[in-house]
C-alpha cells in the first residue's frame, strides 16, 4: 500500500509541477471566456447593415416593418428590380396585393444573399402584420389588438416540479445547459486523461523502465498508481477551474456600480420585488437577479457530487482500457491509434446520445444509455440535470452507479491481466486478439 502511494505521488507531482499543466489550468478558463466574449463581439459588430426598398401596394405593412440596428426599411416609389442597386439599396422586397384567403408570395431580391435569421424576422413581421390586418377587418379594435400584443409579451412560462408536498421552480433550459456542459466535460476529460494514462504506460514501456519498477512492485500496483495519480491530477484541475470561475464571478460582481449591487441584494432579500419606497430596479440589476435566481433553481450539491462520481467512475472505467492498450503497444504510435479505436468509438457514440438526451431525458435510449457503463457517465449527467427524482428515479441512479462501479472493477481487473503480460513484451505486434488471449488466460 505504501508503494502504490509512492507511485501515485510521483505520477501526480511530476504532472502537476509540469509547466503545461499550470498553463492549461489557468489559461483554459481565460481562453474560454475570451472565446465566448470574442465571438459575441464579432457576431454583434460584424453584421452588415441592409437597406431594403419595399414595394407595398397594401399600405398597412409599412407600420409593421420597423427599422432595427441591422435593417432599415424605406418605401420609395421609383424603385424596381433593375435599379434598386444603383439607388443604394441592398435588397428589394416586393409584396403583392393581399386578398382574403388567397395565398400570395412576396419576393425578396438581394445583392447578397440574406441570412436565415433575418429572413425569418422579416417574414414574421409581414405575417403578423397581415394577421393584424385580417383581425381588424373582422372587426377587432386597434386598441384591443395592442393590449393583446402586450399581454403576450408579459406572460412567461414558469414550470414547477412537484416533489411530494413542496413544489420547486424548474428551468428546462438551465437543465439542458448543465446536462450538456457536464456531459461534454466528462467526454472531454475521458479522452484527455485516458490518453494521458496510455502515454504514461507507453513511456514506461518504451523507456524500458517498466521491468526495473516491476522488480520492486507488482504490475497491478504500477498500473493503479498511474491511473489514480492521473485521476487526481484531473480532479485538481476541476477544483481549480471551479474555484477560478467562482472567484472570477465575484470579482466581476464587485466591479458593478454600487447602486446596482445594492438593488441586486434587495431583490434577493425580497424574492424579486423592490420594496420600501425604493425606485424601480434598473434593468441590469433585474437581469443579474434573474440569472442568479435561475441558477439557484438547480440542485447544485447533487449535481456536483454526481459529477465527481461520474467523472471518477467513467475515468476509472475508460483509463483502465487505455492503460491496457498502452501496455501492448511497442514503439509504433500508429499501433496505438488503431488499438484505441474500439475505445473511442463508444465514447463518441455516448457523446451523440448525450446530445439527444439533453433535450429529452426520458426516452428508452436515454434510460439504457444511462445504465450501461460505457455511456452512463455522460448520459446520466445529462439526465440528472433535469432533477432527481423527477427525471431520474433513485433506483435508476443507484443502479447506474452500481453498474459503473462493477464496470470499472471489471475493466481494471481485465486490463491488469493484459498489462502484466504486455508491459514486458517487446517485439510482438499488438492486436486485440492477443490482448484477449492475455486477458483470459489462466494465471
Amino acid at each position: 500500500m505504501n508503494k502504490i502511494w509512492l507511485i501515485i505521488q510521483r505520477e501526480y507531482t511530476s504532472r502537476v509541477r509540469n509547466k503545461r499543466f499550470l498553463l492549461v489550468t489557468f489559461l483554459m478558463p481565460v481562453l474560454l471566456v475570451s472565446l465566448i466574449a470574442g465571438s459575441a463581439y464579432l457576431s454583434a459588430s460584424g453584421m452588415e447593415h441592409r437597406k431594403i426598398a419595399v414595394l407595398d401596394p397594401n399600405g398597412f405593412i409599412k407600420t409593421a416593418l420597423k427599422n432595427t440596428d441591422q435593417i432599415s426599411f424605406e418605401f420609395p416609389n421609383n424603385v424596381d428590380t433593375l435599379n434598386y442597386k444603383e439607388l443604394g439599396y441592398t435588397d428589394i422586397l416586393i409584396i403583392p396585393k393581399f386578398e382574403q384567403n388567397k395565398k400570395a408570395d412576396y419576393i425578396l431580391r438581394s445583392k447578397k444573399s440574406m441570412g436565415l435569421m433575418l429572413q425569418n424576422s422579416i417574414s414574421n413581421k409581414i405575417n403578423s402584420a397581415i394577421e393584424d390586418q385580417m383581425l381588424q377587418e373582422a372587426g377587432i379594435q386597434q386598441a384591443v389588438l395592442d393590449s393583446i400584443h402586450q399581454a403576450s409579451q408579459v406572460a412567461e412560462l414558469k414550470a414547477y416540479e412537484d416533489k411530494g408536498k413542496t413544489s420547486k421552480e424548474s428551468n428546462a433550459s438551465l437543465a439542458m445547459g448543465i446536462g450538456y456542459a457536464s456531459g461534454f466535460l466528462i467526454y472531454l476529460t475521458m479522452f484527455i486523461y485516458g490518453a494521458m494514462v496510455m502515454r504514461g504506460v507507453m513511456e514506461e514501456k518504451t523507456n524500458r523502465i517498466a521491468e526495473v519498477i516491476i522488480s520492486s512492485v507488482k504490475p497491478f500496483e504500477l498500473m493503479m498508481g498511474k491511473i489514480i495519480g492521473i485521476g487526481a491530477v484531473g480532479l485538481t484541475q476541476f477544483i481549480l477551474w471551479i474555484s477560478l470561475i467562482i472567484s472570477l464571478t465575484s470579482v466581476a460582481m464587485g466591479m458593478l456600480p454600487a447602486d446596482v449591487q445594492h438593488q441586486v441584494t434587495t431583490l434577493q432579500q425580497h424574492n424579486g420585488q423592490m420594496v420600501g419606497g425604493m425606485s424601480q430596479a434598473s434593468e441590469s440589476a433585474m437581469r443579474i437577479y434573474n440569472l442568479q435566481h435561475t441558477i439557484q433553481t438547480a440542485n447544485w450539491p447533487l449535481i456536483i457530487s454526481c459529477f465527481i462520481f461520474y467523472f471518477l467512475g467513467g475515468y476509472l472505467f475508460y483509463s483502465a482500457l487505455f492503460a491496457a492498450v498502452g501496455s501492448v503497444v511497442n514503439e509504433d504510435p500508429q499501433d496505438a491509434q488503431s488499438l484505441m479505436f474500439p475505445i473511442t468509438m463508444p465514447l463518441i457514440f455516448s457523446y451523440i446520445i448525450t446530445n439527444m438526451v439533453t433535450q429529452n431525458p426520458n426516452t428508452p435510449i436515454a434510460f439504457w444509455a444511462s445504465i450501461i457503463p460505457f455511456s452512463s457517465p455522460m448520459v446520466m449527467m445529462a439526465r440528472i440535470a433535469y432533477g432527481v427524482p423527477s427525471a431520474v428515479s433513485y433506483w435508476e441512479l443507484a443502479l447506474s452507479m452500481g453498474i459503473l462501479i462493477a464496470g470499472f472493477i471489471f475493466t481494471t481487473w481485465l486490463s491488469g491481466k493484459i498489462y502484466r503480460t504486455g508491459i514486458l513484451m517487446y517485439g510482438k505486434k499488438p492486436t486485440w486478439k492477443l490482448m484477449f488471449k492475455w486477458a483470459f488466460k489462466k494465471s
Binding site: K3, L6, I7, R10, S14, E203, N207, R208, I209, E211, V212, I213, I214, S215, S216, V217, K218, L424, Y426, S443
Partner: protein
C-alpha cells in the same frame, strides 16, 4: 557454506515454447555467479522468476534458507535488467530516491545512501539534472547505483557493462568485487565470455531452456580440456607426431601438442628430454570459455530457436 539461492526443477512454458525447462542449480553466498547462454536461451525468463516478476509453472525457489516470497523478499534483491531505462523527464536525484523508496527504504535513509554513492562515483553534480541530459554510459552508472543502493543480499546484473567505456566499466567491475567481498552474492548474466572468465567464480550455461553446464570456471575448463600442451624452446625445432602426442600447431619457438590417450604430460617431457630439446616453458593450454561456449551451443540452432507449439 549455505547456498543463498537454490532453484529446484524450475519450469516456465509459454504457449509457443519451453522458455525454462526443468532447471536446477544453487549459488553460494558471497560468490559471483555467471549465468550464460545464447540469445533466447531462457536467461531473462529465469532471472524474472528469481526476481519475482514471473511465477514459475512448477519448481521451487529457495532464497536465504526459506521459500522465495516475491512480496517480502524484494528488498533482498537488486535487479538490473537487460532492458532497462529511466524516466527521461525526472531529475536524477529524485529518480534515485523514488526507486530506493520503492524498494522499501525510508526517505532519509535513501537520501543518505544516494549521497554516499553519488560521492563515491563522482556523480554529486548530477542531482538536479534530468536523465535526458545523460549519455548512455552515465545513465548506466546511475542504474547500477540504484540497483545496489538498498544493499541487497542478491544482486542480479544483466549485461551490466554494455555501453560503458573502459574506465567506467572498471569502476563498476571493482565495485562488483567489493560488494562480493562484503558478502553480497552477484548473479551476472552476459554473453561476453572474457568478462565471465575474469569475474565469475561459478557458471551455469543454459541453452534451449535447459541447463547444459554447471561448475566453477576451473572445473569447467578442466572438464573441457583436450590435453593440449604448449612447449616453448630456445631455438626453432620441429616436432613430429609420434605415439605419445600429435602436433597441433607449430610456431617458431612454440609447439602445441595434443597428448594421446594413455599417456601423461610427464611422458611427453621425458620424450622431449631424451631428444635433447632445450625447454624453457611447458604448460597446459586450457580451452577458453568462449571456445567451450561455441562448442556447446553451435549446431543446436539455438540462435534461430524455432517457435513450436507445445503438445
Amino acid at each position: 557454506m549455505e547456498p543463498i539461492l537454490q532453484l529446484a526443477n524450475l519450469k516456465k512454458y509459454y504457449s509457443d515454447q519451453k522458455a525454462v525447462d526443468d532447471i536446477s542449480f544453487q549459488i553460494q553466498e558471497g560468490s559471483i555467479f555467471g549465468l550464460l547462454g545464447p540469445n533466447g536461451a531462457g536467461k531473462t525468463t529465469l532471472l524474472r522468476m528469481i526476481t519475482g516478476i514471473f511465477y514459475p509453472d512448477s519448481g521451487v525457489i529457495t532464497l536465504d534458507g526459506a521459500p522465495f516470497d516475491p512480496l517480502n523478499d524484494i528488498q533482498k534483491i537488486g535487479y538490473m535488467p537487460e532492458e532497462r531505462g529511466l524516466y527521461k523527464k525526472m531529475k536524477i536525484g529524485e529518480q534515485a530516491l523514488y526507486l530506493a523508496q520503492l524498494k522499501g527504504l525510508s526517505k532519509s535513509e535513501a537520501t543518505e545512501k544516494i549521497k554516499y554513492w553519488f560521492r563515491k562515483f563522482e556523480m554529486e553534480t548530477w542531482w538536479d539534472k534530468k536523465v535526458e541530459d545523460l549519455s548512455k554510459g552515465m545513465s548506466q552508472k546511475l542504474q547500477f547505483v540504484t540497483t545496489i543502493l538498498h544493499e541487497p543480499k542478491l544482486i542480479i546484473l544483466d549485461e551490466p557493462f554494455s555501453g560503458l567505456d573502459p574506465v567506467n566499466a572498471n569502476l563498476i567491475k571493482d565495485e562488483i568485487f567489493n560488494l562480493a567481498k562484503k558478502g553480497a552474492t552477484i548473479i551476472f548474466s552476459t554473453h561476453r565470455m572474457e568478462q565471465v572468465e575474469e569475474i565469475c567464480d561459478h557458471i551455469v550455461l543454459v541453452n534451449l531452456g535447459k541447463k547444459i553446464l554447471d561448475g566453477t570456471v576451473t572445473e569447467v575448463k578442466q572438464q573441457f580440456k583436450e590435453n593440449i600442451f604448449s612447449i616453448q624452446t630456445t631455438e626453432a625445432i620441429s616436432l613430429e607426431n609420434n605415439a605419445i602426442f600429435e602436433v597441433v600447431k607449430t610456431e617458431q619457438y612454440k609447439n602445441l601438442v595434443k597428448i594421446n590417450d594413455g599417456y601423461t604430460s610427464n611422458d611427453v617431457l621425458n620424450d622431449l628430454l631424451k631428444k635433447q630439446v632445450q625447454i624453457i616453458g611447458y604448460n597446459e593450454v586450457l580451452p577458453s570459455l568462449n571456445d567451450i561456449f561455441i562448442q556447446l551451443v553451435e549446431g543446436t540452432h539455438s540462435s534461430a530457436r524455432a517457435f513450436k507449439p507445445i503438445q
